[in-house]
Every structure is written in C-alpha cells, then in structure tokens.
C-alpha cells in the first residue's frame, strides 16, 4: 500500500518536472523566434530606406557611382540571406557601405543641408541602433535557450523531442582574420 503511494508520488513529481522543463524550452524557443522577427523587421525597414537615400544622394553627387554600386550590391545580398549568420554578415556589409556613402556625402554641403537627406540619415541611424539592440536581445535569448537545451536535466527533453540549437546573430570572423599575421619562418 505504502509502496504504491510512494510510486504515485514519484510519478506525479517526475511528470510535473518534465512538463515544466518542456514548457520552459518551448517558451524560450518562442521568445527567440519573436526576437528574430524584431531583427528582420528592422533589417527590412533599413533595406526600404536605402533606395530613397541613394536617389537623393544622386541628385547632388551622381558621379560617385562606385559607392552606389557597393550599397546596392550589399542590399541585394542581404535580401538573399537566409540564416542568422548570413543575415548578420550581409547586414554588416551594408553598414560598412552605408558608412562610405555617408562619408561621401560629407563632401557635399548642399546635400548635407537638404532636409530630406537629414531625415533619412536620422531614420537610418535609428534603424541601425534598433538592429543593434534587437541583436543584443536576440543573442541573449538564444544563449539562454542553447544553455537550457544542453544542460541537465533539460537535455533529456532535448533529445526526446529534438529541440534544435539556434544560431547567434553575429558578424563573421572576417575582421579578426584580417589581423592574423602569418610569419614565414
């Protein structure tokens, strides 16, 4: 009689823990998905702002064709990116080329004084900030999820229900690679 009760209690406790851990993983997964959608909203918004920026800059500095091409290439590769990693790389590329475009604009006082241009610049830098903040948040949630996924006892649930690991949104290692110095001996 007592043994039956003990077994029942153990069963109930285990089920509760099981359900709790499962729900925790699902909720983290949903939060990560949510955080990702925030990033993609901002990425899309930035992509939408760029044609206007290019158009207005062209009115003042049409011969700077090189920069315009770079910007539109970067925008194109961002549109084709799928994984968080690809998105992060393309986004970084776009940030760099946009920086060049703004640097070019510095040489054209008329352009800098243009009301529409200044508004676009404000919107673009705000969107850049939003991407950065959304990225912080996304990476925090994904790290929490991945840790939960791999640690005991949640890892039992992970294998049973095949929760996939999530990718961080971060720039490629390219920058650090550039600094690697090869020493010929």
């Amino acid at each position: 009689m007592t043994t039956t009760w003990i077994l029942i209690v153990i069963f109930v406790v285990l089920t509760t823990v099981f359900v709790y851990l499962y729900n925790q993983l699902v909720s983290l997964q949903n939060r990560a998905e949510n955080a990702w959608s925030q990033i993609s909203i901002q990425l899309k918004r930035r992509a939408d702002l760029i044609p206007n920026l290019v158009k207005i800059t062209r009115q003042y500095a049409d011969h700077e064709k090189n920069v315009f091409e770079q910007v539109s290439d970067a925008r194109e590769s961002l549109a084709q990116a799928n994984t968080p990693q690809e998105n992060a790389n393309a986004s970084e590329q776009l940030t760099v080329t946009l920086g060049r475009l703004f640097a070019v604009a510095e040489d054209y006082p008329d352009l800098k004084a243009d009301q529409n241009y200044r508004q676009l610049q404000e919107e673009l830098s705000s969107t850049e900030n939003k991407i950065a903040y959304a990225r912080q948040h996304y990476n925090d949630v994904v790290t929490a999820y991945n840790t939960q996924r791999e640690t005991f006892p949640s890892n039992i649930i992970t294998t049973l229900f095949s929760f996939k690991p999530l990718e961080l949104f971060q720039e490629s290692q390219q920058e650090t690679d550039d600094f690697t110095i090869s020493i010929d001996s």
Binding site: A35, Q38, Q42, Q119, E122, E123, S126, N129, K130, Y133, A134, Q136, H137
Partner: protein, 292 residues
C-alpha cells in the same frame, strides 16, 4: 532578463503589497471610525468600500493619465519629435517591451519622467528643455533611465504610493468633517477631532516617508540598467552632468510629483533636502556610472 532585474521587480512587488495592505488597513480603520460617529457601521463601511473600489479602480486605469495631465504633458507629434520617438523605440527594443507612449512638456528646464502600471501600458515624458540641452547619445541615456524605471516596475510602485497618499488626505478630510458636523455621540467629539487632526498632519509625513521608501537605491539601479541597454556609459553620465548644471525649478509642476522626475527639484545640498531627497546627489550617480 537578468537576476538583477528580477530582484528589482521582486522588491518592488513586496513594496506594492505592503502599500496595498497599508491602503486597505487605513481605509478600513477610517471608515469604521466614520461609521462609529455616524452611529452606523454599515454606512461607514459602505463609504469605505465605495471609496476603496472607486478610487482604486480610478487610480489603476487613469493614474498615469492623471500624472501626465498634472505635469501638463501632451502627446509628442510623430513628425515634429521624430528623433525622440526613434530613441524611445530603440530603447524599448533594447528592453524588449512595447514602445511606451511619448509625451512632451513645454518647459525650458531639462527633465523627464516615466509612468505606467505595467511595461505594456506605460509612457515617457520629457521637457522641450531636455531636447534642446542633450545630444542624441545623452537623450538616449535619459530615455534609457526612464525605461529602466518602467521595466523595474518602479513606476507602478510610485503610482500606488501616490494613490495611498491621496486617499489618506481625502479620507482624513471626510473624517474631520463628520467628527465636527456629523452624528450623535457629542461626548466623544473632541477625541475624533484630535484623531482627525492627527490624520491630517500625518498624511504629508507619510507621503514623505513613502517617497523615501521608494529609495535612492533604485535611481542607481535605473542608471546601471540604462547603461546595460545602451552599452554607452558616456551618454548617461554626460546627461547627468548637464542636468546638474541646468537651472532647477520646474514651474507649474506639483511638488507631490517631484519624485517621478529624473532630476528632482530638491537636488541642492541643504540639510533638509538631503534628509528628504528621493534622489541621491547627481555627483554620486555620475561617479558610479563612470566606475561601471
């Protein structure tokens, strides 16, 4: 959300519960006393219950709007205050809360405050003076500080504290009146008048104490959280430095709302101000941020 944030929220929840109990006890006590004078406990408790529900509900649903309208804040126009709207939205993303409503106060003194019962329903208000004085990074620092108050649920505690203080004032007023003009028991009248007077004197003191309970510590906590959002200590400390040198004195702002603002009017160094200040000295806040 970090453990740090959870601790802030938990201690605020404890405070809110204590305030709620205090609120309930006070109303029960005062309405019993009123019923006693009117020779009808049912009537007294009826008044108390109506008051409790009515005032509580009003404060819950309209509290933020009341604070906003008392300070003369108006909704900020989307295109006129584009940068401000952008900054608020950026920080909301960093804090992962819905974008708070944005309000503007026509005032030359740089200042700002936040209000709201929950992160889902909140507002940030800044003065036109703040927009003029701060560059974009500093404005971001100030907004981040206010959003930190929202995420830590300091704003909720402040609103409930405001309700408590207001209700003590009104009920002790009712109590004072009925004990003079109302009811039978003539022989006990002077006792009630004294109790009523005491309540009226105690109300502002309790108000001060609550503002203290909503302690200076949370200003440091909000500063630290703001830096965590923006990853830019210079913006926050630069903003505080400018606030320090700005002239004080928000005209047309009720003193009772002082504790809501980022820069309190009582920030100078006199003894009484130090004793009753809701905010730590700005110098100390700047120092702490720079040591982060």
């Amino acid at each position: 959300m970090s453990t740090f944030t959870w601790n802030e929220i938990r201690s605020n929840n404890v405070r809110t519960t204590l305030l709620f109990i205090a609120f309930f006890t006070l109303i029960a006590g005062l309405s019993t006393a009123i019923g006693f004078i009117l020779n009808s406990l049912v009537l007294g408790w009826g008044i108390g219950l109506i008051f409790f529900c009515g005032y509580g509900l009003f404060a819950y649903y309209r509290g933020s709007n009341m604070a906003l309208s008392l300070t003369g804040a108006e909704p900020a126009d989307q295109s006129e205050y584009r940068t401000l709207h952008n900054v608020v939205e950026e920080i909301a993303i960093a804090a992962s809360i819905p974008k708070p409503e944005v309000y503007i106060m026509q005032n030359d003194t740089p200042n700002a405050f936040a209000t709201g019962m929950s992160p889902e329903k909140s507002a940030v208000a800044v003065t036109t003076g703040l927009l003029q004085a701060m560059d974009r990074d500093e404005l971001t620092g100030v907004v981040a500080h206010e959003v930190a108050h929202i995420e830590h649920q300091d704003t909720k505690t402040m609103l409930i504290a405001g309700v408590l203080v207001g209700s003590i004032a009104i009920l002790s007023d009712i109590f004072f009146r009925v004990s003079i003009f109302g009811g039978g028991r003539q022989r006990n009248n002077w006792v009630f008048i004294i109790v009523g007077l005491l309540a009226m004197i105690l109300a502002p003191i309790v108000a001060e104490l609550i503002r203290l309970a909503v302690s200076r510590k949370r200003e440091f906590a909000a500063d630290a959280k703001a830096v965590e959002y923006t990853r830019n200590p210079n913006g926050m400390s630069g903003a505080l430095r400018k606030l320090k040198h700005a002239q004080t004195g928000m005209q047309n702002t009720p003193r009772s709302l002082n504790h809501l603002f980022i820069r309190s009017d009582l920030d100078d160094d006199s003894f009484m101000n130090k004793l009753f200040s809701t905010h730590p000295p700005l110098d100390e806040r700047i120092q702490r941020i720079e040591s982060l």
